[in-house]
Symmetry: C2
Subunit: 564 residues, 2 copies
């Protein structure tokens, strides 16, 4: 019986990029991408697929079992991880979506999204290291001084150095206003950073010689005192190795023992007067970090997709091979339903996530300001939905897939239990899924993004045909509009009402996006009987679930709990 | 910040036993239990609570980290596990629900159910060892020869020896008809058992000197050849130590590395002409094992409840202590909903599971044959529902609870991630949850148990008042009846139709039982405002979910997928 393996779904990716989303037409309209064509993009993804299948996936199980450890005061990653990083760097992959001015390849975020789907599917633990690179790059590029940019961007783009983000402290989880790490100006333009951070992914490791920390801190400047809360946070760049080659006064005090992603070094960091430099204005640290949030959240969403696809393709193969009751278990109705739903959700989520990546590309590169603005607005709605809904589907889908293996699914060597453990973290970090729901409903749908959501709905409905998926999409759009009207109305008299409905609203929008994706998939391949079956299996589950979420959201609004 | 702990919910257990289910009235009507009163029962549970909190729970995290290993060819359990077993034996706990004729205490299964809820909540890995004892005891008691009973029952009842069940083989998972292990008659009444078994919980360990294996095998008797498939399976008792004190020719070849329950020794067993004796008639091994199946499945269901209650009580405490955004996170609407739902489902499942245990007591001990028969019929419906629905709620609830801790939930030292990992196995073993759904729908609701289900529904509805829970119960009963009529009608022309709907039917019945339990809870405590709030939170989730399942079941019947 074959064990876990991974083959990137290159045909499906190409189908989504070229035929469902018609990305090459977008590239032709954006000067930065006019040199790119479908075949070139496909060749880039094919190369990435080889790397993920041949180099990364074989390190996934061993990396989980070996984990990271501290040797002589430094973090040592699992065997093979540094070597895989060298191959990644030599392939030019860190530079894929970076600006050519800084040594990047200037390719669309769409291709970077496909790359990260593959990386995570093959090895989530390893992918945590490059996962932080792009966010650091974007932040320094947008807010760093010229000196910082010159010193750090080329090395980050090439992958010679890696990055870490220092946000969380023991008392400051979702509530970053409680951050206490301090930065004292030294008078030479640098600051001395002192404090402790937890959950710092890649805070120390042996993949690169230098690690660039972006640390959220509170500036101690008597001439410019920090306001309390999040409005008084600054962002400091603190490298583990200083420009003169000496080690900075910072260290990983320990590693967390986690449920999964054992290959990722989750550090407890201590900064003891470590030398750093502010990135952006004093007290404007949080807005500087928000800039990269859409891209970072989309990357976490892609983790959900990667896990789901990995679990699905292995479950499909196992179910075809495993014989019980005189036939492969894939023929049993319960297995057919599970496998059909997993495949449908995986294929559907890919369409929506790649669409979001295309909006990020337009927001950054489109020549028309109105297009840029509309794309940014749509991305700001899609990203919290995809982060929360995508990671929830990734975890639940991995657990559903585990059931296909029966008892073997619970045994480590078969691989799927690791996927379940690894997938669980994505529901928590980069803003918990509950925080995403509040962001979507409170800040976006009840805030400035309400018209953008209406435009998004109109756009999705424009393609709704009379097929099963199109009918589901129209029904769900109606429920969405009714529910959002009720949320708005309830919010007037009861500020907490939207918060009670937020999780269900987000899930409802997630199912609605799936219904659209399935419509778009079938329209791009109207004669593909196998796809019709898969979409049918997906709708069998998704449509009643969508209804349930909208109904529950309305109940949660209407029935405020009496205070106990 | 306090870490995981466990305090058995004694007040709630007493409330359910005495006021909701009125068990003391049942005891008074059953001669075997007339000596038992409410205070005595409460004292028994209070003693069990002390053992689980003080002895078992402190071994839970360390047992997970240390796991089992093979030392000098024998399985060594985590430090403290054998000592805890000695204390359990000295307390007389293995004998709790066993027949006084064999040294048991003759207490109801209801109290044994409460005991096992506590044991699993405190330490699932450890509880796997006594978890198999009662099934072996029942099987030998009902089907063993007098000699086997005399030799093995007293030592099993006292806990001097433990038991293991050998069913699964690599090629024979859910499909036991594929079992190949053979038993050759020796002419002296014994058989020589040869073959390999996998996933044998407690197959070897250091808690007791002897382990009594009940092994499913195929008798090789030329004068009485075994029919193929499950009708040709026999059951053999194969002890690790023979009556003359020598070791039997059997060994644990290895231990599985699992997602969770690391403290439980999951063995790969090899029997090499090992000496055994048939239990029951040749080729009647499976019916002999089915006898104990209701009790065994209820025990697995109780694992779901134990995990759920453990997760809930720790999440409640953490949410009350953890301050973010100027208050304990327990005040945030998203957390309130999660915590309320967890508490509601935990409290509700306990009522239904204890009710099932009372039916098992009646089925075994009631003086009136009609009552015995009706109780057995109800138990045969409740157990697959509670096994599948209860363990699904246990796993999902543990994962939902993990979210309350945010990033800390993913870190091993906080405990909740272990609960998620441990809880996952209960959806697989003792018949996967998909097998339970097929058993419920195919064998029971479409089979001989249809009238019993109608009687069960009538009985549940008899108590439905006009409160929120009572209204939900009535609505769900109507949906259940309509759906089951549709299942019956579809089954005529399409044999696979019930299998497509089975998972949703089972989940629907699970929610219906919850609605009844909440009705019964509120009727037993009509003025308890806190309980009304909890039930409200439960219904907010459960009622729309129930509707979704019934609707989806009907869709699955109506829309047979076209063959691809």
């Amino acid at each position: 019986m074959s064990l876990f393996s991974y083959a990137a779904p290159l045909d499906e990716m190409r189908f989504v990029i070229e035929r469902v989303l018609k990305a090459p037409a977008q590239w032709a309209a954006i000067p930065a991408f006019t040199d790119l064509d479908a075949d070139t993009a496909a060749e880039v993804l094919a190369q990435a697929a080889r790397f993920t299948s041949e180099v990364l996936q074989p390190l996934n199980g061993p990396g989980d079992r070996q984990g990271c450890r501290i040797v002589d005061g430094r973090v040592k990653t699992p065997d093979g991880f540094p070597g895989a990083w060298q191959q990644f760097v030599e392939g030019g992959w860190p530079a894929l979506a970076c600006d050519p001015d800084w040594g990047g390849q200037g390719l669309p975020q769409l291709l970077n999204a496909a790359l990260f789907e593959m990386l995570v599917a093959a090895n989530h633990g390893w992918t945590m290291y490059p996962g932080l690179l792009h966010g650091a790059y974007e932040t320094i590029k947008a807010h760093g001084s010229d000196a910082l940019k010159q010193r750090y961007l080329p090395k980050l783009v090439s992958g010679e150095w890696l990055a870490a983000m220092g946000l969380t402290e023991p008392q400051a989880g979702s509530d970053l206003g409680l951050v206490r790490t301090k930065a004292e100006p030294r008078g030479d333009g640098s600051v001395a950073v002192t404090g402790g951070k937890i959950f710092i992914s890649g805070g120390d490791h042996d993949l690169t010689d230098n690690i660039v920390h972006l640390v959220l801190c509170r500036l101690q400047d008597p001439s410019n005192p920090a306001p309390p809360g999040t409005k008084g946070l600054s962002l400091a760049l603190v490298p583990t190795v200083l420009p003169d080659g000496t080690r900075n006064t910072m260290a990983a005090d320990g590693l967390e023992h986690k449920m999964g992603i054992h290959g990722s070094a989750t550090c407890v960091m201590r900064y003891e007067g470590a030398t750093g430099w502010l990135v952006g204005e004093p007290h404007r640290g949080l807005p500087a970090m928000f800039l990269m949030m859409n891209a970072a959240r989309l990357h976490v969403a892609l983790q959900g997709l990667g896990h789901l696809d990995m679990a699905t393709q292995n479950a499909e193969r196992y179910a075809a091979e495993r014989v019980q009751f005189k036939g492969p278990i894939a023929r049993q109705p319960a297995m057919q339903r599970t496998l059909g739903r997993l495949r449908a959700v995986s294929d559907g989520l890919r369409v929506v996530m790649y669409r979001a990546a295309m909006r990020l590309d337009e927001a950054e590169h489109h020549p028309d300001a109105a297009v840029r603005e509309a794309a940014a607005a749509e991305a700001s709605i899609l990203t919290p939905v995809l982060k929360a809904f995508g990671t929830q589907q990734g975890f639940q889908g991995a657990s559903d897939a585990l059931q296909v293996w029966g008892g073997y699914g619970y045994v480590a060597e078969y691989g799927i239990e690791q996927t379940v453990r690894d997938a669980r973290i994505a529901m928590i970090y980069e803003g918990t899924n509950e925080i995403q729901a509040i962001d979507l409903v409170q800040r976006k749908l009840l805030g400035g993004a309400a018209p953008a959501f209406e435009r998004l709905l109109d756009g999705l409905l424009a393609g709704a045909d009379d097929g099963e998926a199109g009918r589901a999409l129209r029904a769900q759009a109606t429920m969405a509009r009714e529910t959002l009207a009720a949320v708005r109305s309830a919010a007037g008299g009861d500020a907490e009402a939207p918060l009670r409905a937020a999780d269900d609203v987000l899930a409802g929008v997630g199912h609605l996006l799936l219904a659209w994706a399935w419509t778009a998939i079938l329209q791009a391949a109207p004669d593909d009987a196998a796809r019709h079956l898969v979409v049918h299996a997906g709708l069998l589950h998704s449509a009643p679930e969508a209804e349930m979420h909208w109904r529950r959201a309305q109940r949660a609004l209407a029935q405020a709990p009496a205070t106990a």
